[in-house]
């Protein structure tokens, strides 16, 4: 058991009595409107209560013991809407069957870090959410002590029932909820010992599962409000172009069209030009999606050149030039790499490349906005509601207190919905049209107005001495825009002479975070390179890495190494054992890789067989160390999705530009992995070490790119350096 200071500010525990609690009743907006159904659908054990008593910002309890937990963070498919409430319910000590989960709106006074990004929700919520549950439990206990007239220390809880040790007196949470909600917030609470967990560690099913499989309204695109119109935009067709003139004479008169508006988003592009590319877009507003789509096509817009119109070929040449530069400033240097390379008996040098990538969330960008002169009311899918509300306030010249954001379930994020320019556009369109609107991007708009994963190149060099040891390691990366190198990650710390460099070329193409930023490229490159080094010195690739980790553990080079060599080696050992690495099977070509990012460690083995004359992925094995696994089923799903995402993008996907124009605009030209290309089987194992939990949304993706490249080499005899690998003909059927 650990004692935790609650540290809550009063506002986060605003108490609303049942009498004054109109706000507690369900049904005041679309989101809440569907909540009544959610509640009805989710409840298996109890009827809907008459009153809800707010215990704190995260939970309310009905007089019949039903509990509503508000899940604070955006749900983009990483399953936090299930796993975060599990943390609260655990410490509250209730039956999960008595819990109903709702998405909380954005409220910076009540919640911390309402962000979906960096795989940090569970890591950050681990203590605070359990504390919220434990605090409410303590208040319920105190209320029960008053009612039962016994000392609070003699009371215990189990599954929502409070019982007295020395008598047969019991009372339920529901019966004391009203009194408990009036009790002073305790300054300290006790958290459970992990061995007493009853909900954490259980495979709890997705709380929205029923709604998802029955097609109920859940997503931003499903949102509707009375009087709402549909809006769509036209943006410049090329990066480096801007609006010159609009002829909307035809579009305006078309059936169902309310108006055409030029929307000035320069407040964004001026502040963050590498992320927000366009300073003006043209919006069409009308009654229905199809009518607006027709009018959008009927617009006659002239665009003009505002900047360089870039080509992917030029990006590539430019990056080559940067890599060839002899005087790059070191990000990290240990020992004397140049001497070690001079003294080497063998040097291996390889260059790896990857293209820009679009996020392609299956639900395209969209947002609802209802803006008046006093307030802006926004609803939709966004990973960063706080940032978005600030940007909206700026763009409207409105106090941020008057901007409200509610979050829907989100049809994928992958980093794309960190960048809420579409929220600002929706607000400005609503203001211009003087109507509530829902802005919808077509797939083409979404793909060609991206905040792309940068294109990357990296050059690796390894020096091998006459004793067949790797004596020096040199990594030099470049990206458009932003380089891919993490200078303090493995094998930094394990090699005597080490040099890391990182550069960025400028581009007018907007770029940003994409699931596991930088790692989504560098992990695969690094792990493929280490495979070649291991081969060159005649070692098993797992043994080779384990020896490096031994060195990093016993005698680390430098002080900034950002990984724990023991845990890193641990996942490699686990994947070796679980996959039966040491008993190689004929006809199965295997590759291995391990990577650390977002505070979690993942090792993977990819097995490739030949099927219909081409390599096919038979199985992927993962060993994962993310500390305590909150929800094993959800955790497995994240690892499976992450590795399929990694394989898919390494094999098939690319975004390219010609004269600034995105060359892929829909799924007929932008390839995503499909059923037939997916691994036939996946097996995932977790290290059980009782360490506080860390992220899972991203770490499953990066290493598999390396394991895949290494397995493909075994299967084809050829090393693959340039993503997407399937551009090589022998990999396609």
């Amino acid at each position: 058991m650990s004692t935790i200071k609650t540290h809550y500010n009063r506002r986060s525990f605003l108490k609303i009595s049942a009498a004054s609690g109109g706000g507690m009743l369900l049904g005041f907006s679309f989101l809440a409107g569907c909540k009544a159904d959610v509640v009805a659908e989710q409840i298996k054990t109890k009827a809907l209560p008459k009153n809800w008593f707010d215990m704190n910002a995260f939970l309310k309890i009905g007089e019949n013991g039903l509990v509503t937990i508000l899940s604070p963070n955006p749900e983009i498919g990483q399953n936090v809407k299930t796993s975060m409430p599990m943390l609260i319910a655990e410490e509250l000590d209730v039956n999960w069957e008595d819990v109903v989960v709702e998405q909380a709106g954005f409220d910076k006074n009540k919640y911390e870090r309402q962000v979906a990004g960096g795989s940090q929700s569970i890591r950050h919520g681990w203590t605070s959410l359990r504390t919220a549950g434990a605090t409410a439990r303590r208040m319920l206990l105190e209320a029960a002590a008053q009612k039962l007239e016994v000392p609070v220390d003699e009371l215990r809880t189990e599954n929502g029932i409070i019982s007295h040790k020395n008598s047969d007196k019991t009372i339920s949470y529901g019966e004391v909820a009203s009194v408990a909600s009036q009790i002073e917030i305790p300054e300290e609470v006790q958290l459970k010992d992990p061995k007493d967990f009853k909900i954490i560690g259980q495979g709890i099913k997705n709380v929205d599962g029923q709604k998802i499989v029955t097609g109920q309204p859940l997503f931003g695109l499903d949102y509707k409000r009375d009087g709402m119109l549909i809006a769509m935009i036209e943006h410049p067709p090329a990066f480096g172009m801007k609006l010159k003139s609009v002829d909307d004479s035809k579009a305006k008169t078309m059936s169902g069209i309310k108006g055409v508006y030029t929307i000035d988003t320069s407040s964004l592009s001026e502040q963050r030009p590498t992320i927000f590319a366009f300073s003006e877009v043209v919006a069409v507003v009308g009654n229905s999606t199809w009518e607006v789509l027709q009018a959008k096509k009927a617009l006659n817009i002239e665009w003009e050149k505002a900047n360089t119109l870039e080509d992917s070929a030029t990006h590539s040449q430019e990056m080559d030039k940067f890599l060839a530069n002899k005087n790059i400033e070191a990000k990290r240097k240990d020992g004397n790499p140049s001497k070690a390379f001079k003294d080497a008996s063998k040097i291996i040098e390889r260059v790896y490349t990857a293209p820009f990538l679009a996020h392609n969330t299956l639900e395209p960008m969209n947002f609802f906005a209802d803006v008046s002169s006093e307030k802006a009311d926004l609803v939709g899918p966004i990973q960063t509601p706080q940032w978005a509300s600030g940007m909206v306030a700026d763009a409207l010249g409105m106090d941020v207190e008057n901007v409200s954001i509610d979050m829907t379930r989100q049809g994928g994020g992958f980093g794309r919905r960190l960048y809420g320019h579409f929220v600002v556009e929706a607000a400005l369109i609503s203001k211009a049209a003087q109507s509530p609107i829902k802005l919808i991007y077509t797939r083409e708009d979404d793909m060609s107005y991206g905040v792309y994963r940068p294109a990357y190149k990296v050059k690796y060099r390894a020096a091998i001495n006459d004793k067949n040891e790797m004596t020096a390691f040199h990594v030099s990366g470049v990206g458009a825009h932003g380089g891919p190198v993490w200078e303090n990650r493995f094998p930094a710390g394990a090699v005597e002479h080490y040099l890391a460099e990182d550069q960025s070329i400028e581009t007018v193409v907007s770029t940003g975070a994409w699931r596991a930023p930088k790692s989504n490229f560098i992990a695969g490159a690094e792990q493929a390179f280490l495979d070649e080094v291991a081969e060159a010195i005649g070692k098993d690739p797992i043994d080779f890495r384990l020896e490096l980790f031994e060195k990093a553990k016993a005698n680390p080079v430098g002080e900034e190494n950002d990984y724990d060599a023991e845990r890193y080696a641990g996942v490699l050992k686990m994947v070796r054992e679980k996959s039966g690495w040491d008993n190689q099977k004929s006809g199965v070509h295997r590759g291995v890789a391990a990577y650390y990012c977002h505070n979690s460690y993942v090792a993977q083995v990819v097995d490739i067989i030949e099927k219909n004359g081409k390599p096919a992925i038979q199985k992927v094995w993962s060993a994962v160390d993310c500390g305590i696994v909150v929800n094993p089923e959800g955790a497995k799903n994240q690892i499976e999705g992450g590795l399929i995402d990694g394989i898919g993008h390494a094999m098939y996907s690319a975004m390219s530009f010609k004269d600034g124009v995105p060359q892929q605009k829909n799924f007929n030209t932008y390839n995503l992995i499909r059923h037939m290309d997916a691994p036939m089987e996946i097996e995932t194992h977790f290290v059980d070490n009782g360490i506080d939990p860390t992220g899972l949304g991203e770490p499953g993706l990066p290493p598999v790119m390396g394991a895949l490249a290494n397995a493909l080499y075994k299967a084809t005899g050829k090393r693959f350096y340039d993503q997407p690998f399937a551009q090589n003909k022998e990999l396609l059927g």
Binding site: V213, G411, G412
Partner: protein
């Protein structure tokens, strides 16, 4: 604008829309049936899959004027309260991540299993290949289709 009467989820339903309006937008904008999703609009992703006379079709490229007497089934009409064996299998395997593609996946799987009650892994992959899951739930979908085949 023109008036159309369609046979939707077992009910005769009237809508007044332009004849070239795809069924997808008729369902979503005019009938408030939003379980049929928009993902690409060009018959590439399968998010908009519905059944037309029990055959899986892409609602995004199917103009309302081309449907006459045929029976249209959307996810909302697949079963009462999600009790179709495919929906139940989806819940059992906790397939969804973001969940956005899953109604389309379910509709494709349900039509496929009507034709092939006992499919092999390869047949499942081929039948489902037109449905993209950006979150990568493919192995769970395969397992769920097998469970549904067993239970139907």
């Amino acid at each position: 604008m023109a008036e159309f009467t369609i046979n939707l989820n077992g009910k005769s339903t009237k809508v007044d829309v332009a004849p070239n309006t795809p069924l997808l937008w008729v369902l979503r904008d005019h009938l408030d049936l939003v379980g049929t999703k928009y993902g690409c609009g060009i018959a590439q992703c399968g998010a908009c899959t519905v059944h037309i006379d029990d055959i899986a079709m892409r609602a995004c490229t199917l103009p309302i004027s081309q449907i006459s007497e045929q029976k249209i089934t959307t996810i909302e009409g697949l079963s009462e309260n999600g009790t179709h064996p495919v929906q139940k299998a989806w819940l059992e395997h906790d397939v969804a991540q973001c969940g956005y593609c899953q109604t389309g996946q379910i509709m494709t799987a349900a039509a496929f299993l009507k034709d092939n009650a006992n499919p092999s892994d390869d047949e499942i992959a081929r039948a489902m290949n037109g449905n993209i899951c950006r979150c990568g739930t493919y192995t769970r979908i395969k397992a769920a289709v097998k469970t549904a085949a067993k239970n139907q």
